[in-house]
Every structure is written in C-alpha cells, then in structure tokens.
Assembly symmetry: C2
Homo-oligomer: 714 residues x 2
Amino acid sequence: MVDTASRTETPATQGNPASEARVAPVPGKAASAPIPVPAAPARPDAPKVDVEALGRQLLGTWADIRLEARERAAHPDLQRIEGQSMPEHRQRVFEQLKILVEHGAVQKAFPKSLGGQDDHGGNIAAFEELVIADPSLQIKSGVQWGLFGAAVLHLGTQSHHERFLPAIMSLEVPGAFAMTETGHGSDVAAIGTTATYDEATEEFVIHTPFRGAWKDYLGNAAVHGQDAVVFAQLITKGVNHGVHAFYVHLRDENGDFLPGIGGEDDGLKGGLNGIDNGRLHFTEVRVPRDYLLNRYGDVAADGTYSSPTQSPGRRFFTMLGTLVQGRVSLDGAATAAAAMALTIAITYGTQRRQFNGASETDEEVLLDYQRHQRRLLPKLATAYAQTFAHDEFLVKFDAVFSGKAASDEDREDLETVAAALKPLSTWHALETLQEAREACGGAGFLAENRLVGLRQDLDIYVTFEGDNNVLLQLVAKRLLTDYSKQFKGAGFGVLARYAVGQAADRALHGSGLRRLGQNLTDLGSTARSVTELRDEETQHELLAGRVEAMIGEIAGRLREARKLPKAEAAAVFNRNQNELIEAARAHAELLQWEAFTRGLAKTTDPATKQVLTWVRDLFGLGLIEQHLAWYLVNGRLSPKRAQAVTAYIDRLLGRLRPHALDLVNAFGYTDAHLRAKIASGAEQERQDEARAYYAEQRRAGTLPVPEKSKSKKR
Amino acid sequence: MVDTASRTETPATQGNPASEARVAPVPGKAASAPIPVPAAPARPDAPKVDVEALGRQLLGTWADIRLEARERAAHPDLQRIEGQSMPEHRQRVFEQLKILVEHGAVQKAFPKSLGGQDDHGGNIAAFEELVIADPSLQIKSGVQWGLFGAAVLHLGTQSHHERFLPAIMSLEVPGAFAMTETGHGSDVAAIGTTATYDEATEEFVIHTPFRGAWKDYLGNAAVHGQDAVVFAQLITKGVNHGVHAFYVHLRDENGDFLPGIGGEDDGLKGGLNGIDNGRLHFTEVRVPRDYLLNRYGDVAADGTYSSPTQSPGRRFFTMLGTLVQGRVSLDGAATAAAAMALTIAITYGTQRRQFNGASETDEEVLLDYQRHQRRLLPKLATAYAQTFAHDEFLVKFDAVFSGKAASDEDREDLETVAAALKPLSTWHALETLQEAREACGGAGFLAENRLVGLRQDLDIYVTFEGDNNVLLQLVAKRLLTDYSKQFKGAGFGVLARYAVGQAADRALHGSGLRRLGQNLTDLGSTARSVTELRDEETQHELLAGRVEAMIGEIAGRLREARKLPKAEAAAVFNRNQNELIEAARAHAELLQWEAFTRGLAKTTDPATKQVLTWVRDLFGLGLIEQHLAWYLVNGRLSPKRAQAVTAYIDRLLGRLRPHALDLVNAFGYTDAHLRAKIASGAEQERQDEARAYYAEQRRAGTLPVPEKSKSKKR
C-alpha cells in the first residue's frame, strides 16, 4: 500500500525575504498557496547571502543611473511586443527612440554646451540597460547616438557639433553610420568607397565603385535615416589618405533618396528586427568640403591634405578608437542578457520537478540534479566575473573619454581590454541563453519566456562591432608586441639570459619535473590538492602562467619567421593563428578573474564574501578545467591535482546550490524586466497544486493503487 | 610605387566539374565572368575526390527515395517563405501537407492493405529530407503521420487501423499526439491525465486533474487538430495500470472544441512557427471502451484489465519503443541541416576574401585562414561521421520495424542507439549552424541566407522527442547494465579475478607507467607519434578504452551504493550523474567513429578513400583532442603524444582545405535546396568585380597612391 502519511510536513522555504521580492504580490495568491516547498537542504550553519548588499555591489560605479534606466526599461511602452511584423516592430522602436529623447535618457555623452552632460560612463551604463526592454531598442539607440552621433562628436569639430548634433540628439535627424560594406566588415581599412576632392568646386565626390563596396547592414539605412556619416577613402591630388568620415544627406523630406543615392533593405534578419538595416550606394554624390569630419585629417581649399597625426596607420586607429564605446556597451548588454537568462532558468530550476529518485512520492527539483547544476552554475560564476570586469572596463572607458587618463597608452589599453572582453561576454551570452532555454525544456522554446527572443537578438553581437575572432587576434598581436618590448634594445646578454630562463622553465614544467614533484606531495591526498587549488595565488599563477607561456612560445616561433619573405612569414603566422587566438582568450579570462578577485576583496559581509569566494573559485577552477590538457601537457598540474580540480568543482556546485536563487536575485531584475511566465511563480503554483492533489488523494485513500504494487502484493 | 603588374595572371579554378554543378546556369553570366579565382593551392599529385561516387555513398541505403524526396523539396510550393506571420505560415504548412498526400509522399510506413507500402526505412528517409524545404513541414508531417498516425498503427489493433488510419493517411482528419504535459515531458510515466473506466457505460473518462496535467506543446492542437491520441493513466477497478493511449475526438466540424475539451494556443515560439502547437485539457470526457488503443493492454467490458506483457515497466517501455522513429528521423534531419550549413559556409569561405597577409594587393580567401579551417572542417568531419552512422541506424530501425530482426534485444539496441545518436547530432546541428552563421559574418545573420532560420527551427530538436541529457542518461544506464551482466551469476573467483584485472589496469594506466613507456618511445619523435595516432586500431583503442574505463569506474562507485537506503543511493547516483552522461556521450562518439570507419572500408576510389581517411582521422583525433585531459590523467597518452594529436589535426586541416568544396558538394544539395544568396555564386561575382576594378586601375595607372607609400618615398 501507499504510505499516505509521507510528505505532510515540509520545511519552510529557504532563502532571504529579499529573494522573493521579485515576485509581485498577486491578489488572493497567498490564501491559496497550499504547501510551501523546500529549497535544497543547507546546513544550519551555512552562510547567508546579503542579497541587497550584493545587489548594490553588482550595480557598480553607476548604480543610480542603472536603477533609473531599469525603471524606464520596466515600462511597457519601451518593451518589445512579441510577434509583431518587421514593419510594425521597426516603427515601434523608432517611436520608442522619441520617448527616450523626451526622458532625456540619451544625451548624457554629448557636450554640456549642447544640452548634454559630458558623462561618458553614465551614458553607456544607461544605454546598456535598454537591452532589458528590447535589444532592438538598445541597438537602434546605439546607431543613432552611439555611432552616428558619436562619429560627428568624436571625428568632427566645433562647427560640425553646432550644425549637426542638436538635430541628432533630438532625433529630428535620424541617421546611419555607413562604415561596413558588403565586401569589407572587420577590415575597415580596405573599404572601397571613395571620396575624391574636387578643387574646382571645393567638394568631395562620394562614389561606390563596385557592388562589394555598397554600404551594408546599416541600421537606419532601410527606412528612417535622413543623413549618414559615410566612411570612404579620402583621395586628393592623386593620393589616398585612407579612411575618413563624411557627413552626407541621404533622403529628402518625403523619405526619397537624394540624387546619386540608392539602396536596398536588408530584409528580415535572425533577430533585431526592430532595426531597419539596409544597404546604400553612391554615384558621384557631391558634398561640401566642410562635410569632411576633420578632427584627425583635413583638406584645404586647394586640395592640400593635413593631419595632426603623421602616420596614416596610427591616424586610422585613433579615429576608430573613438568608437570603442560600441564594444564597451555590448560587453555590458551581453552580460545583462546572460544574467537575465540565468535568473529565469535558475528560478525555474528551483521550482520545476521531474523524476523521483530519492522518494517514492516526490519528484526532484531540477536544480538538485548534479548535471543541472553543472549546466547552469558555472555560467552563473562567469556572469559574475563579467559583471565585475565590465564595471572596471567602464571606469577605464570613462577615464579615457573624460580626459582624466587619456594618454596614448591608456587609449591602447582600453582598446585591448575592449577587444578582449567583448568576444568572451557576447559568446557567453549566446551559450548561456541556449543552455537556459534547454534547461527550461519546451517552455524555454516559447516566446513568452523570452529566452529564444533574446538569443535571436544577441546573436549578431558576436560578429558586429568587430568580429570576435578578429578582435581576439588584435589582442594577441598586442600581447606579442608587449612581449617583444622586453627585448627592445636588449643586447645579446639579455636575450641569452632569457633563452636560458625559457629552457629552464621548459625543463621544469615540460619534462614533468614539477609535475612529478606534485605527484610526490599529492600522493594519496586529494584534500591537500584541493587546499592548494582554492588558494587565490595558485589560481592566479595557473591562469597567468598559461597566458605567458602561450605567448612566449608563439613569439619564439614567429621570431624566426621575421626574416622570411612576406608570403612565407604570413604562412608561419597563419599556422599559429588558432593558438594565438586561444592565447588571447586566456588573457581575457585572466582579466575577468582578476576583476572578480578585486571585487571580492571589496565585499564586506562575511557570509556573502564566503559564498562569493566559492563563486570566484568555481569561475577560476572552471577555466582551469576547460584547459586541463594544457596544464597537464605543460607539466603545470600533476594528474592527481588535475583530478582534484574536477572533484573540487563538484563540491563547489553542491555548496552553491542553496545560494543559487540568492545569487541570481542579486542581479536585481524584477518581473517587469524578466517578463518570463515560467519565472513568475506560475510553475511553483502548478507544482503546489499537483502535490496538493496527490496528497489529498492519499489522505482520502482514493489514489488508485499502482499495478506494480498490486502485482507485488505489497 | 605600386606594382601594377602583379596578379594579372591567375591559375584556373580548382575542383571537379561536379563541384560546380550546384550553381545553376544564369543567362549571360558566363560571358560577364571576369577573372577565374584560384582555390587553395594543392600539390599536383594531391588526390582528387570523386564527388559523384562519394555523393552516392553518402545518400546511403535509400538513395533513390532520398533523391526523389529532394526533388520534391526543391519545389517552391513546399518551401518556406521567410517573414510570413505565424498564422500565414501555419496555414501554408497545412496546405503543404495536402500536397504531400497528393504526391503519395507520406504513406510508405502504413500497411499495404490500407494503401501504404510497409516500408519503414524508406518512409523515414523521405521524411527527413523535408527539412530542406522547411523544418516546420518536416515536423508537422511528423506530428500527423509519425506520431498521431503511428500511435494508432503501433498501439492500436486491426479495428483501429481500419476505422482511423485511412482518414489520418489522407489528412481528412488532422490530429494531435497528446502525450507531453506542462508538468511532465521526458518523464512520461508520471503524467497526470487519467482515463478511468466506467463499467456502467463501458466508457473511459478522460480527465485532467490539475493545471500541470494539461497536455502541452502539441502540434495540431492549437488550430488544425480534429482528433488526438491522448496518453493517460489507465485506471480500472481502483488500480492504475500505467500510461495507455486513447483515441479522442477534439473538435466539431466548425473547429470548435467538443464538450469537456478546452485548450490554449502556445503562441509564438523560437522557431517552427509553421506548426500550431497548443495545450489541451479534458474535463470528464467520455470515450467508448474500444477507443483504447489496445495492442499492449486491454480492458474487458466488466473492467478487467489484461495485457500480453506482465511487467508494467516493460509494457510501458515497449509502448514507448514503438515511437522511436521520431528520434531516428531527428538524427537524420539534424545531420542534413548541418550538412546544408556547412555547404553554405564553406562555399562562401572559398569565395569571400578579407585582409591581405601574404600579398600587397590580394586579400586572403577566408578558408585559407587556419582559424577558419579549425572552425568549420572538424564540423564537416562530424557531419560525415553522422551521415554514415545515421544510415546504419536507419537500417537497424528498418530491420526491427519490418520484423526482420525484432527480438527484444534488437529493440533495446535500437532504442539505445537512438538515445545515443539523437543528442549528439541535434546538438551538433545547432553548433554547426551557429558557427556557419558566424563564419559568414553579417551576411550569415540575414534571413535570405537561411542559417538563422534553420537554427531557430532546429533549436527544439535538442529537447523534444526526449531531452538530450535525459536520453544520454538512459544510454549510460544501459551501459551500466551491460557492464554488470559480466558478473551476473559469477562466483567469488570471477569477481576477484576482475578486481585484480582492474587494479592491474589502473596501475598500468593510472600511475603513468604506460605513459612513461610512451615517453621513452616517443622521445623527440613527433613523427612516430603521428604515425601511431593515424592508425585505425590506435584511434579505436583510445575511444573504446575511454568508454570502458569510465563506465567501469562509475560502476565501481555505484556498486557500493546499492546497499544504501534509497535516498542515499540516489544521492550517490546523483554525484556521478555528470560523469555518467559524459560516458554516454563517449559511447555515442565511438558509435559514430565505428560507422564512419565501416563506411570508409566500402569506399572504392583510391583518391576518394585517401581524402575520406583524412576526414575520418580528423573526426577521431578531434574527439581525442576534446577529451585530451582524460587521456593524460588516465595515462593513456603521454604529454608528448598528446601534443602530437593537435599537431596532426593542424596538418590534416591543411591537407583537407583543397578538398573542402568537393566534400560539401558531395552532400548533393542544389541551389534550390540551399536557397542561400551568399552560396549562390553572388559573392564570387562581387569579388571578381572588385578585383577586376583594382586591376584595371593599376593597369591604367589611375589608382591613387597610398599616403604611406608616398611618405616612405617608395
């Protein structure tokens, strides 16, 4: 017979009151709530996260601005309506831009003299939060004010600011940022569009010489753009001075293209269909000389070119560097999307039950399964690392753009950090959104639960504003340059000493001496291995050591290639390309780990700090586990200690399980932000109702006897 | 000055004429084609793939049926129109089902007596190819004939076949397969819907007791379904005999729900929006006694239950086993989608150019970059492995369902293979579609290039017809059972000998003895390591040895848990869950590798066989590289040999590069199947035009001088 007495008592719901603040009170809900359901068991002495304090820390340097922006993003008028047709969605987002203007939400980065606030960091912080409302709104705003407007601001000079910015800021003139061409995306220097100076009329002639040079994928180009900043090869007196930006009028007051201008709609995309991406081409379109945005290069009336920056290469990178904010904001928005996805999937994972293992009558909560923890909690740890890294990144950005720390080196550092962090966080967002969607099963596939829509929109983040692979290669090149600087001007003595050092290092690591040493120490003691692995210094040494060793090894191989003819040298570089990109990724991971560790140092509440230390360890050891083969091959970890990495991760997952809900709640998203039915408490209600139904049947003795029990005559 | 003479000569396009058959002739195109563009250089003695012969081999056992189905899928009437609204798309797919009926394309699996062909393998082969036209069409057909119809066929008996199948086959009665509930997906045994027998009226009362027991995510439920097969707990005389299937009428001739039946539309989804998924619930809906599909269990008029299968557990799995064809077909369709994605991305990768490395004037073709090869070619190798594995799988399925080999063991094997292969191929499809989309940059994000749409539609394949993680756990359990059978009835002697064997094995591998042995042999000889690694037997031993060792180790840990109380035993199992699932994945990878190797043995053309051997090696070594840490920790590979794995993969990528286009063309998809503008030759035209433009400017001396050249006074 069935034990009808079981499960009549249930422990109280675990977690802080703050953890439940997210669920808005529903009339009559409290009265009908039948049986409180236990979260995973935690020992009574387990630490308790201060969700509110942790939440404040996660909001970072521009906390107030973020909170204000989130309040705005919670408003339905700014949110996406699922299932709208492309034209409806485009129009809606365009109208939403006007609401942002009315709220004064988008002018922070512009000069005070024009009604802005000269607040670069705060501007990006607010802008990132728009992803909550609709990624199309975020990116369309980015096109208008972060690209089109910012190009006028950063590449133009006083007169351009006065002439063009007010109408851009107010959205009176929507515009496109016409840089990418069908034939050239990440390699901007090679675009085909030309701007040839005509001394006779003192005009530039903008021209598209072939189909591959059509401007493409431009937001605002298909429908709304009246003007554009067009990037083209500046040619005067028979010399090509490289890529420069020009202000160009696209459409008349009826929305028709002006003479010489044509285009196409890019049509439906995999996501972001609230943005009217399109193509543009120019047939000898003439613009006045002073439509050249001339901060970094100018042409006199007689056609003489001048620039404050002599080297064309440096000039190009300086111009492009002013547009780094796109990458900054994608890092922040991608992190926010991952955090929302984890909030949805982990909330659902603490309510949804499936299969009974430990009990005859009760099914397990999904997040109690080890595999489910493995799928979600390491991604939660990464989202935390990214949150800390992003805030530091934004502080650095603000320092450069406010002029507080704007040396060439600061700018270069900022660009390298941007090229390192944006790829990792955007890829991580896609992986997390997908894992979250799968972790919610069929429910995750419904548009009403938001995961699929966010993933579709975020997809393009990994290739726009710089293709992730190309960006990581830039990082690797910078690492190689820094590495070679160690030897700049060094005599033979230094190089020889270095070579000896390298050889000794290889002998120590590569031949397994250190590994064998570990074997002796570790023998039979996983506990001792674990103690070492959770040590901050050990984690840092392992992560940093890998970057250094990888770069050192590649540099060694490339050094010999320098003497080779260009084609052969390129071939040697190409044979190392994959490893170079992996080295850059290792560097970016180290940056994230370091930022997390600095953030952890600032956490004051001891219990929160304890839990956060586990999260950081899960992040650090998760990275080491991903690259375990490298550590083994290079003698940095003994097989014994390598096994301890996985064993300790498994232990951390169990420890973090009871805190998972607190950790996602600390991100601070309300139901109005998440708008996912399965994370609204609906699943909990369904589970409670089903359990109450069976409990009542058992109590009343009306539950049919299972055939199995009957046949076994129990 | 610029060298205007460079690059006026270009070698002829490489590749077989067959490689170009895909591009349909365009009027006037041949005349305007300017400069033929070289593929990657291949040594003159390099082998040449016989694309046509390889293509025939890839089509597999049901080649003719596939070709016929592909011809059908090439017809625009059966294809998706991008950008349709959900209602339009649903209606279009519904109309397309009628076209399939007219073509006699969907009745192969049904009995000859009813106008079918009793051809189970051929039916699935044809069905899979529908994914080319529109995955919504594939899955909607699957709902109607593969689930709804197949349930009547396999779970019902003669009278059900005669009464219901003709109208199902002709689509006169569209229907739903009402198994999954909001609260229970993969755990079908625990569904809440009840069917209680009422002796007084000789009816079953179908009832939904709570919200979580609503049927959910059912294709045909929201709009088109008139009838359904409903799964419910069969209760008679106070005993629950477990899940059984019932035929139920849902809607009247006006499309309104019949009394007691209600439902909801699931609304917009992440993909497959041509299918009207919805929810159903039943309030004491009465159906006649003979609406029970009674092949595996019946209820007499007096309420007495009878079944040919005594064990309720076995009965349940037998019933569900008849529905394995869903998993078979998803494996095939997912493999087809991956193959299409690779055809699109690799075709584009051989035409698109970006950045110039080796030359001043010429940009590199994307697929010549090592990283690009690393991103796409291993996935191509996996798609090949899956293609071979799928054909064997389908042959096995056909043998079981035709009765040629239908023992309990055959059925169990088939289900295990299904549970192993479906997860890997569906996940691989998503990864490949995503990598292909990224490899095509912004163009990959446009709906017109198909990658995003296919990915959105295929997303749900990883969690429907059995969640991938749940399926892999089933595989692992089967592996554990097989493992423990070795000891069934064994006396103490056998177990002791086994324990000694295990210990010896661990000493040999675990303590590094074998690894050190490798060290001695390998010292300084990567060549020797590579020779070993490309040996078929070595690859097999490494892959199979890993599965055996993982299962053996987990079994050892679980054996001790058997004596524990249920809850503690479940906890021990849970602590091994992640590793169990990884072991199942390793097993599935081994199945794929073995199938690939058997396929390779049948390839006759020596050059094709050479190239295909490289592909198989890339697949095998790619798997070993993914799990390299395991091989190192467990002493199966020395660090030296582990490095050789990666080195040899890099070498294989270079070797396969010149054959990449042939290898994707062998999949045999025409432009009418791919329908991706970037893979249609448009990119090649753009590249040719751009190159011709610059060549002409150089020839005429009108190309502006780069500022850099000028300032350097070159």
